[in-house]
């Protein structure tokens, strides 16, 4: 599989964004952010905190009111619209909004046709991508006839074929059952590890963030409240509360029990409790 080797760091400097009239809402106050090539980052925060606005600015759908956003040194919104998908792909929240052709195969090929890739290469890339995302057996079906989880993978596939360096994924876990949500996180982890794609995902599922993500950007009221590792971020429930975010259940138990370092998974919590045990002999079941 191809890996992206050139520098495609995302650098945001002094970003300020106000929605144009008549809305005139200040969505992003003052923002500086650096995401290195190949990172897997989650953006969390309350609805209206600016996460979606930020992700649209990163993807070039919105232009900053002030400040710059560059990927690999190139200003994002200056990249011609038909070339941008090859730099940064945006997976919209609702997969139904992204279906444009009658079969899965054609829908995934759609983007490549638009950038006039030669036919034999389209065949190769689409086939590889469909197989990689476990969609090959669905290729003849109409995208609206398959399950929502599958349709979401089709949306991802349609963007993946254009080989973006950064993938911005908007709430892929909302509305999915826990098992499917987990599958999606696994998929993104795999894309990140195998292909080196930078993944920026917006999500509300804190348990999945704890399990799959290493760095978390916490947004609140148009600003970045925290930008650090998952463990550090979930150790600060007071700051998280400002943006209506609660650490996952395991972390909350860990916080209340004073466990350090803060456990993020069941196994970590178990290890910590065992390590802290009152002399083991007194509590062993007979």
């Amino acid at each position: 599989m191809n890996t992206i080797s050139d520098n495609h760091d995302l650098v945001i400097t002094n970003l300020h964004f106000v929605y144009p009239p008549p809305r005139r809402v200040e969505a992003i106050k003052r923002l500086d952010l650096k995401i290195k090539a190949g990172e897997f980052v989650a953006v969390i925060g309350h609805n209206g905190s600016g996460k979606t606005t930020l992700s649209k600015l990163i993807s070039g759908y919105l232009e900053p009111s002030e400040g710059t956003i560059t990927i690999g040194g190139v200003v994002v919104h200056k990249i011609p619209a038909h070339q941008r998908p090859m730099v940064v792909g945006y997976v919209f929240q609702n997969p139904d909004h992204q279906v444009f052709r009658d079969t899965v195969w054609e829908d995934v090929a759609f983007g490549l046709e638009n950038i006039k890739i030669p036919e034999d290469e389209i065949q190769r890339v689409v086939r590889d991508t469909l197989e990689d995302l476990d969609l090959w057996h669905l290729r003849e079906l109409h995208p609206f006839r398959i399950g929502k989880g599958d349709r979401q993978r089709v949306a991802v596939a349609g963007l993946l074929v254009m080989n973006p360096k950064i993938l911005v994924v908007d709430e892929p876990t909302t509305g999915q059952d826990p098992e499917r949500a987990r599958e999606i996180m696994r998929l993104m982890t795999r894309l990140n590890e195998e292909r080196g794609i930078t993944i920026i995902t917006i999500t509300h599922a804190m348990d999945l963030v704890a399990e799959f993500v290493k760095r978390v950007i916490v947004m609140g009221q148009g600003e970045i409240l925290l930008d650090e590792g998952v463990r550090e971020a979930f150790s600060k429930p007071d700051i998280l509360a400002k943006t209506y975010v609660q650490p996952p259940a395991v972390a909350r138990v860990g916080l209340a029990l004073g466990l350090n370092p803060l456990p993020l998974t069941v196994d970590e919590a178990v290890e910590q409790i065992l390590r802290r045990c009152v002399p083991v002999k007194d509590t062993l079941a007979r």
Binding site: R180, V266, A269, R276, A285
Partner: protein, 286 residues
Amino acid sequence: MDQPKDIVIKLDNVSFTYKSANEPTIKNINLEVRKGEFIGLIGPTGSGKTTLLNLIAGVLPHYTPGVLSGAIYINGKSTLEMSMAELSKLVGLVMQDPESQLFNLYVKDEIIWGLENLGVPREVIAKERVRVAEFFRIPHLLDRITYDLSGGEKQKVALSSTYIMRPEIFVFDNPTSQLDPLGSSMVFEAINALAKQDGITVIVFEDKIEELATFADRLWLINNGEIVMDEEPRDFFTHTQLLKEALIRVPAVSAIGYELRARGLEVDRLPLTVEEAVETYQKFIH
């Protein structure tokens, strides 16, 4: 039909096959619900959960065609002997999409719409609107436009608009699926307030199992169209094999207890909530 007075819902060997399907979506279901109970329904995608809920609410087979064998009794009367209009008065239904349940322009008009259709006199409508808005703590939303509300607010308005018609049974089909954590907790709070009322019977399907387990009196597990478990929450999560087959994960805080037990610690009661977990595991650490 001669039954103990306080059984409000009874499913008697119910199977249902959709019109265009080859096999039944749910098979041989036998269930009873007593007046005032809060039942949680848990199950993976495709298990037949929506079908079951829609049967209880009388959407099936009245609104969507299919073959029903066996019978569903609401207050002793078979749903086949009632029209969907009658069933709509008996059973309030709240679905998962906040965008699809509000259709009037202003919240104040949406809430009373059902009473207008019932022909309730104007003075009563006015009083009911105030009562219901106060009960769900949304008087500040009355003058708002329905499509401008947050997801959680929309679901609360949908619930209020149904509640005002005074059904005694409420069925919720994944009400917080599309919501952020703040919206979810708003809706859970509202459902709980509703369920606490005398004589109101509530059946909720949710993917957010932890929350559901906290509020419900009893939990049903549905898998492959059959009810596999019908237990109180504390016992529900002890059947690990059945849960595994249904791809249902035990709440993280309980899973910690399981593992600690397996490692020899005497965990007497498996906690379901963070508070219970802290209390239970506190004993082990120093």
